[in-house]
Amino acid sequence: MRTYIITKLLHAVGVALVISFVSFFLLFYTADPASTLLPENADDADIAEFEKQFGLDRPMLVQYGDFLAKVVFQGDFGSSWVAKVLVGDLIGVALWPTLKLAIAAQIIAAVLAIPLGIIAAIRRYSLVDNVTTFLVLVGQAMPLFWLGIVLIIIFGVWLKWLPVSGSDTFAHLILPAITLGSFILPLNMRLVRSGMLEVLSQDYIRTARAKGVEEGRVLMKHAFRNAAIPLVTVTGVQFGALLGGAVVTETVFSWPGLGRLAIESIQVGDFPVVQAIVLIFGAFTILANLAADIGSAWIDPRIRFD
């Protein structure tokens, strides 16, 4: 188990390094901060001064090494070129709204997916099963930003029940959370259902039933716990999708999170901010993958020898 964790850990660190390097490399050759950020009448001296201020006149590898060292040892992502404040401060403000949104969406998805998936698995071919299948298909075809706009029109404009943008109160959270939740719901439902189906056909479930264990107990205690393994495993992969969905959702609802910050920064060419957000999203995804790997190896020891 220990070598398994160390292997996975090293792998994760490697992936993180590659992501940091590739994103740095891409943005280094894309961004032209002097011409985007300085006034048009800036002369060569101004540009040189600007580049010196941000250390942009050094070779790429030196800049990268400097950047990496500061991130790793000081948690310092540098300064924003546009807002003229520390990137860390911008991200600190935007992080919590995104987490709030992601957690709320995950709760909505879980609350719906687990019971629906279980019922669909137990009562195959029933109405609930068919509705679940249909929801999965519809959910996968639904463009998030369109769903967001439709929800805004119905609940914000027509019914006037909920605010359509901003993030001050709990009411503000409802529509974005539903939007993002609907994005991850189909996959969750599918996993719970197929996991349950597979487990229910196993011998130990039949044994438990044959021994007269109460049906509800069989389902929850014996079946669901094992069916949860694929759910745990996929959390990591799904986490990346969740962040991607957050970018879309935040844009539609003007939600002041990391996703919107990323898009705004990309659009104005604010390289250090984009760089930091890509790294943070990547790190979250890697950590989620790592937790899922280790978690599922812990639940099911056979995986370690895979």
Binding site: V18, Y29, L137, I153, I263
Partner: protein, 306 residues
């Protein structure tokens, strides 16, 4: 390769038992439901393809023709009386005709992006799975690193580097999405590599390229086709989102994403301007997904999801 049960390898036993228990009428209903969904999907896809191929015949107006006097006309179903049955947009262009021409853009980009990612992913997956060794480790690592990258941010960054245009959106989406194909191809190739018929081909002195393409790839084509179908739907949604953000197709080209973005300014009053192009995206993706599901059932029973 031995498993040819028509009802999916994962759960044949359970299914048989259930089938024996469920009343006939329910099974008939279910079959009809499946068929109906498949037929519905093919119908949607047929409409999409027809709109793309024969846009000038199906559209009623020139999608670029502006009519300042007839701006924001009501659609017929809301009591509009003009000859624009879905009304007009903020520049007086015919909404219906723009949606029809938008199908051409979406389908072209969706299919091309998947071709790009499929070619990259399949070639790398075949090489990695077939030769193993360092190339396998490299591809596996790259796939993991790519999957930890937030997809949408990567695609956006690439578009910004390359410049916003249809070709570059295709490249960006294609380059961002190859790991999906590489992962599946690599795992399946590794399994097929050990098959005796592949060993037999090698034993006959056939070259690696022939063995890889004629003997291994030919047996992967069916599952990859299913994945490609679903990925086309996802690429269409992603393209519209990029265009929605202004990073994809540029106005005045009739793209569903651009139309959605332009209509968003009018959600308070002219709600159909954004929701109708969004509905087109949704129906296109739904149709392709339903066809993908039907293909999965037809081509490879083992791939069926529970």
């Amino acid at each position: 390769m031995v498993d040819t049960t028509a009802n999916g390898g994962i759960e044949p036993e359970r299914q048989d038992k259930q089938a024996g228990r469920a009343p006939i009428w329910l099974l008939v209903l279910r079959k009809a439901w499946q068929l109906r969904m498949g037929v519905f999907g093919f119908l949607l896809l047929a409409i999409l393809v027809a709109m793309a191929l024969f846009s000038p015949l199906i559209a009623t107006h020139d999608p670029y023709a502006q009519d300042i006097l007839a701006r924001l006309e009501l659609p017929g179903f809301l009591g509009g009386t003009s000859d624009h049955w879905l009304g007009t947009d903020q520049l007086g262009r015919d909404l219906y005709s723009r949606i029809v021409y938008g199908a051409r853009v979406s389908l072209m980009i969706g299919v091309s992006a998947v071709v790009v990612s499929a070619v990259i992913g399949i070639v790398l997956g075949l090489l990695a799975g077939y030769f193993g060794g360092w190339i396998d480790s490299l591809v596996d690592f790259s796939v993991n690193a790519m999957l930890a990258f937030p997809f949408i941010l990567l695609a956006m960054t690439l578009v910004i580097i390359l410049g916003a245009s249809a070709e570059n959106v295709i490249l960006a989406l294609g380059i961002s999405n190859w790991p999906i194909f590489a992962r599946v191809t690599r795992i399946e190739t590794r399994k097929l590599r050990e098959q005796e018929y592949v060993l037999a081909a090698l034993a006959q002195g056939l070259g690696h390229l022939r063995v890889i393409f004629k003997h291994i790839f030919a047996n992967l084509a069916a599952p990859l086709l299913v994945i490609a179908t679903v990925e086309i739907a996802r690429s269409i949604i992603r393209e519209t989102f990029l265009s929605f953000l202004g990073l994809g197709i540029q106005p005045p080209t009739p793209s569903w994403g651009v139309m959605l973005a332009e209509g968003r300014a009018y959600v308070l009053t002219v709600w159909w301007l954004s929701t109708l192009p969004g509905a087109a995206i949704f129906l296109a993706a739904l149709g392709i997904n339903l066809v993908g599901d039907a293909l999965r059932d037809l081509l490879d029973p083992r791939l069926r999801k529970g």
